[in-house]
């Protein structure tokens, strides 16, 4: 068997995700108008970063892997960009 170190960082990351989830839910109840969505998205982005860096172990990976991971994000951007282009300019 491979000798695994105890996955303390995984537990920590999981706890951080749960804490951020609690934060999202509680902040959603504040009457902030459009800021509610902005706050929820920002917290979501932080969560995604935690998943990418710690669960997907991207912080230990070489440049090629990071390029491929970044490509996923970039292509998601294409989907949102060209999709929004229709949505925002529809008559």
């Amino acid at each position: 068997m491979t000798n695994w170190p105890p996955p303390l960082h995984l537990v920590g990351a999981w706890l951080a995700l749960v804490a951020l989830l609690v934060l999202t839910v509680s902040l959603a109840h504040l009457p902030l108008g459009a800021f509610n969505a902005a706050i929820a998205m920002s917290i979501g982005a932080v969560k995604a970063a935690i998943v990418a860096a710690i669960f997907m172990e991207l912080r230990h990976r070489d440049a090629t892997t990071l390029i491929f991971a970044g490509a996923g994000l970039f292509w998601l951007g294409i989907l949102l960009w060209l999709g929004m282009m229709d949505f925002l300019t529809r008559t």
Binding site: F68, W75, I78, L82, M85, D86, F87, T89, R90, T91
Partner: protein, 535 residues
């Protein structure tokens, strides 16, 4: 007696169904794809019989909807997308780059099991009564109105998507990590470049399909408003998400075919592919720009005019790298020593049919003409020229080219050429009349039509009969060769690629010694002899 090879190493069922050998997994895929091809083909046959007369005589409207839906779903996801990557690619990629296997052999086997599971679920839909949404699953029909087995069919396609992702991932890692010593990127055969580009699309686009299909199920089963405006959804969102995957999926289907054509044109012209770097980068350009054009499926959907203009422009741009390839293949033929062996006949047919398919695609990229042609047989003819005239022809070409390597047997050249010629004529007779029908305004997806369209429909159905016979022929002469064909030498075509420098069929671990690559691909001496990449 033949030497030990991957086929005679072990005979038990277990040694096949639990194999991690890329060559055996390729054969598993090959056998499964034959099955799906003939199921999808049977649906097409029923459609063409029905359309031979203007009135309904074979099936009801409802049954007709289920037939063309099943034809589309099976042919797209269970034949065209896996066809070249999972059979020829699986078999040839490690051999071509001098590797013992793909980077993740077990993932490769898992990919086949997921594919079969997805296929079984989809076939269950057929037995249960079918699905009537068309292969595109457009909302709101698929989420609100259809009374057929939408959720089940969508689940089948969803599962098969993971098989695609695993295959793409496997190829990307393999091509990065397992190239033989000396095999630099610019020494890779162009088949590898095109599969690399295909894999990138598989990995980047398929997840979007998966999530779109889940969203259909969520709206249909749980009533959450995603696409239905009455409960807060956006009716065009589905089309955006679906075509974000499905236009690039067209390139998943055609890029591997283009890859095969490079190998065939070069080998049977006894010349290096003209403009190697342009062809290599054209594959990646197609993969990248192919993601920016999906809105050309939505010109009449109510999408904004700005979006339509941008997608129309990008659709013209994406034609450029494909055109580069066609010009370069033609230039490769120039002053070559051309041999008309069966694989070459398929390759030449591909160039002609793909060019017609590609150019009619430009008609459809024009905003004004597309309004006239949307949902007519013009569109049907256009994409069948790409996917059947292009991809299926390339698949058959590649299959004949690598058949001696895969099976260790030689097939009947006479019958192979006959089939190639019949496919070319049968195909054109089937689909060229559909351009005329579409231009005259016959809509797709109806089983009754005004009598003035009958002449062209009869021609098309007649062509389909020839095409059906031509597609059945290889089953016989290739099947015959498996048992009675002459033993194939290691390099029957006298080609320079690494896959030809090991016995046919290859030993279990592909090469007795690690090949060292010393020169670019496609090198021939002035007297047209192959100069092997590892000599």
């Amino acid at each position: 007696m033949t030497d030990a090879n991957y086929l005679n190493a072990e005979y038990s069922l277990r040694s096949w169904f639990f194999t991690t050998d890329h060559k055996r997994i390729a054969i598993l895929y090959f056998a499964s794809l034959i099955l799906f091809f003939f199921i999808g083909g049977a649906a097409a046959t029923a459609i063409r019989i029905e359309l031979a007369t203007p009135q309904a005589d074979l099936v009801s409207s409802d049954m007709y909807n289920r037939l063309f839906t099943m034809h589309g779903i099976i042919m797209v996801w269970f034949f065209l997308i896996p066809s070249i990557p999972n059979t020829l690619g699986n078999f040839i990629v490690p051999l071509m780059i001098g590797a013992r296997d793909l980077a993740f052999p077990r993932l490769n086997l898992l990919s086949w099991y997921l594919f079969m599971l997805g296929g079984t679920v989809t076939l269950f839909t057929v037995l249960a009564g079918g699905i009537d949404t068309g292969w595109t699953f457009y909302t709101p029909f698929s989420t609100l109105y259809s009374n057929s087995y939408v959720a089940v069919a969508v689940t089948g396609v969803f599962i098969s998507g993971f098989s695609s992702i695993l295959t793409g991932l496997n190829f990307i890692v393999t091509i990065h990590r397992l190239r033989a010593p000396g095999l630099t990127w610019y020494r890779l055969p162009l088949f590898i470049w095109s599969l690399y580009a295909t894999s990138i699309i598989l990995v980047l686009a398929t997840p979007v399909l998966a999530m779109t299909l889940v969203l259909i199920a969520v709206e249909r089963l749980l009533g959450v408003g995603i696409f239905d405006p009455a409960i807060g959804g956006d009716p065009l969102l589905f089309q955006h998400l679906f075509w974000f995957y499905s236009h690039p999926a067209v390139y998943i289907m055609i890029l591997p075919g283009m890859g095969v054509i490079n190998e065939l044109i070069s080998c049977f012209s006894r010349k290096a592919v003209f403009g190697y770097k342009f062809v290599a980068w054209a594959s990646l350009a197609i993969a990248a720009v192919g993601f920016l054009v999906w809105g050309h499926h939505m010109f009449v959907s109510g999408q904004s005019l700005l979006a339509s203009l941008v997608f129309s422009f990008m659709s013209f741009v994406v034609a450029v790298p494909s055109a580069i390839k066609v010009f370069n293949w033609t230039a490769t033929l120039h002053k070559g020593s051309i041999h008309f062996d069966a694989p070459m006949l398929y390759a030449l047919a591909f160039i002609g049919l793909f060019t017609i398919g590609g150019l009619t695609g430009l008609f459809l990229a024009c905003l004004a003409y597309d309004v006239h042609a949307t949902d007519t047989y013009f569109v049907v003819a256009h994409f069948h020229y790409i996917m059947v005239g292009g991809m299926v022809t390339a698949y058959f070409g590649g299959l004949h080219y690598w058949w001696p390597k895969m099976t260790g047997r030689l097939y009947s050249e006479y019958w192979a050429r006959t089939a190639a010629v019949l496919i070319f004529f049968g195909f054109n007779l089937t689909f060229f009349p559909q351009f005329v029908l579409g231009a005259e305004g016959m809509p797709r997806r109806y089983h009754v039509y005004p009598p003035e369209f009958q002449v062209w429909n009869v021609l098309s159905s007649g062509g389909a009969t020839i095409l059906a016979v031509a597609y059945l022929l290889p089953l016989f002469y290739l099947g015959y060769s498996l048992f009675f064909g002459a033993r194939a030498p290691a390099n029957p075509w006298n080609a320079p690629g690494l896959e030809w420098q090991t016995p046919s069929p290859p030993p279990e671990h592909n090469f007795d010694q690690q090949p060292i690559v010393t020169r670019p691909p496609y090198q021939y001496s002035p007297d047209f002899k192959a100069e092997p990449q590892n000599a």
